[in-house]
């Protein structure tokens, strides 16, 4: 499978490494034409303000939105979740793609000194707990019944899905535990049951 990674800014290489370990082919997506050659797309962590500006400057904003709305499987981490959200409650002027039916607070878990790692229970990827790294992470403040919740932390969803999209508040690309990427490819890209 050709797994695209939005190649604008952020932890692009980290996702690239994971995709290679899973024996798929990662491709950086920096132009509109490149959307045509991918089976799925990862929106990496980084700075959402930077990504939004560059997406607009280089005329990628509407193509990105179009491909996702047409069903391109997407895995969004951290800033990626912010990009897809309906609204950013604490920065309402910041634009979003308005595809996931969630509201978020940017840096909802605090600044860097509050960033943390913790073990999550995610039944869909196995019994063993998953160590999740939260870095100035977005916090989901509202979500509709279109959202399926795969994992929560302190009663707030942190790993969710809506149709073709999987989204995490934390950073699966920063650990050696490949289960979430693997789950995304099996379930969302290759449509395998179990």
């Amino acid at each position: 499978m050709y797994i695209g990674i939005l190649g604008i800014q952020g932890a692009i290489q980290d996702h690239e490494k994971v995709i290679k370990k899973l024996n798929h082919t990662p491709l950086w997506v920096k132009t509109k034409e490149q959307f045509k050659s991918i089976d799925a797309l990862i929106l990496p962590g980084g700075e959402s303000t930077t990504m939004i500006k560059l997406l607009k400057t280089f005329d990628l904003w509407s193509s990105l939105s179009g491909y996702i709305n047409d069903g391109l499987p997407v895995f969004a981490t951290c800033a990626g979740m912010i990009l897809l959200s309906k609204k950013i409650d604490n920065y309402q002027k910041q634009d979003t793609l308005d595809i996931l039916d969630i509201h978020v607070d940017r840096n909802g878990y605090g600044r860097q000194i509050q960033s943390f790692e913790t073990d999550l229970s995610i039944p869909e990827i196995g019994e063993k707990e998953y160590t999740a790294i939260f870095i100035r992470a977005p916090k989901i403040t509202e979500y509709s019944d279109k959202i399926r919740v795969y994992a929560s932390y302190k009663d707030t969803p942190v790993l969710i899905a809506q149709n073709n999209i999987l989204a995490a508040s934390f950073h699966p690309e920063l650990t050696d535990d490949l289960r979430i990427h693997s789950f995304f490819i099996d379930k969302f890209v290759m449509n395998k049951n179990n």
């Binding site: 290489q13 000194i113 943390f116 790692e117 073990d119 790294i133």
Partner: protein
């Protein structure tokens, strides 16, 4: 259980800056311009390096009131500089809530022998390096990110290029070493064997490595990316240029398309004049020589 300030949390945060630009700012207004241009973070300091160079005197951590104003004016992460070895400045910056501390040779050093033990802190640190030994020593002290020192405030890229090329050459040599050679080399360059083994395995530094010190144009930023940097710090290069807004935006765009010359040409076209540059041979103070 929540674990804060772990190595994964510190190092992982630096990964988020990759393929991005971090800009020096001295007040809230400049911070907003940087954010608007697409900076991934801003670095708060009292004077940009070009002014420190011109005015002389002891350069210290920025005024706390100013740092707080910068923090509340932008949504992107805020970094601030502390003097080399100045544990108290670093503790104060952590207490104020800055997201990253640069233990920087651009400020006047506070200790002629020791750097800060960065493992004592929850907040992550970035440090400058001119070669692999220096980079590994800083990582041993707990730095979660490295940058070239370059020669700050000159608008002259040669020193940053030299430092990046040196680190690259040394990494290439390390990759070919056997265990015995590695131990000997570690002794020669004053670096930890354990971290050097990681370098050998990864074929790169085990932390994010940015360029800094002398970036003045979109082409300079692209050059540093071509040499293998993970991203770019721009100090005086933005706010000492003729049109800071357009320069800031162009440098951000150049980092995204560093390997696309046609786009780089378009990006460079509309940019105003770059900051005035200085020849390295004419300098009274070589900031890169600070730090040990």
């Amino acid at each position: 259980m929540e674990k804060k300030g772990t190595w994964n949390v510190k190092k992982g945060f630096a990964e988020m800056f990759k393929n991005g630009v971090i800009m020096d700012v001295t007040n809230a207004e400049q911070a907003k311009i940087a954010q608007e241009a697409g900076a991934v973070s801003v670095m708060a300091l009292e004077r940009v390096p070009a002014d420190i160079r011109k005015e002389g005197g002891v350069a210290r951590m920025a005024n706390i009131k100013l740092i707080k104003e910068i923090i509340s004016s932008v949504s992107i992460p805020v970094m601030a500089k502390a003097r080399i070895g100045h544990i108290a400045e670093a503790q104060i910056l952590q207490a104020v809530g800055v997201d990253f501390i640069d233990e920087s040779e651009v400020l006047t050093p506070a200790d002629d022998k020791y750097h800060i033990n960065k493992r004592d802190f929850t907040v992550p640190f970035v440090c400058g390096a001119r070669n692999l030994g220096e980079a590994v020593r800083r990582i041993s002290e707990g730095a979660a990110m490295i940058r070239t020192k370059g020669e700050a405030g000159t608008g002259n890229i040669i020193e940053a290029v030299k430092h990046m090329r040196t680190v690259n050459e040394e990494i290439r040599a390390v990759k070919l070493m056997n265990d015995a050679e590695l131990v000997h080399y570690a002794k020669e360059i004053g670096a930890s064997v354990e971290i050097l083994s990681q370098v050998r395995e990864l074929g790169r530094l085990p932390v994010v490595n940015f360029a800094a010190g002398g970036v003045a144009t979109p082409a300079d930023a692209a050059l540093m990316m071509l040499l293998g940097c993970d991203g770019v710090f721009v100090g005086s290069g933005i706010f000492k240029s003729k049109d800071p807004k357009s320069m800031a935006k162009a440098i951000v765009e150049a980092v995204m398309y560093y390997n696309d010359p046609e786009r780089l040409a378009q990006i460079s076209e509309g940019v105003g004049e770059a900051m005035e540059g200085l020849e390295i041979e004419t300098l009274d103070v070589r900031m890169e020589e600070r730090g040990w």
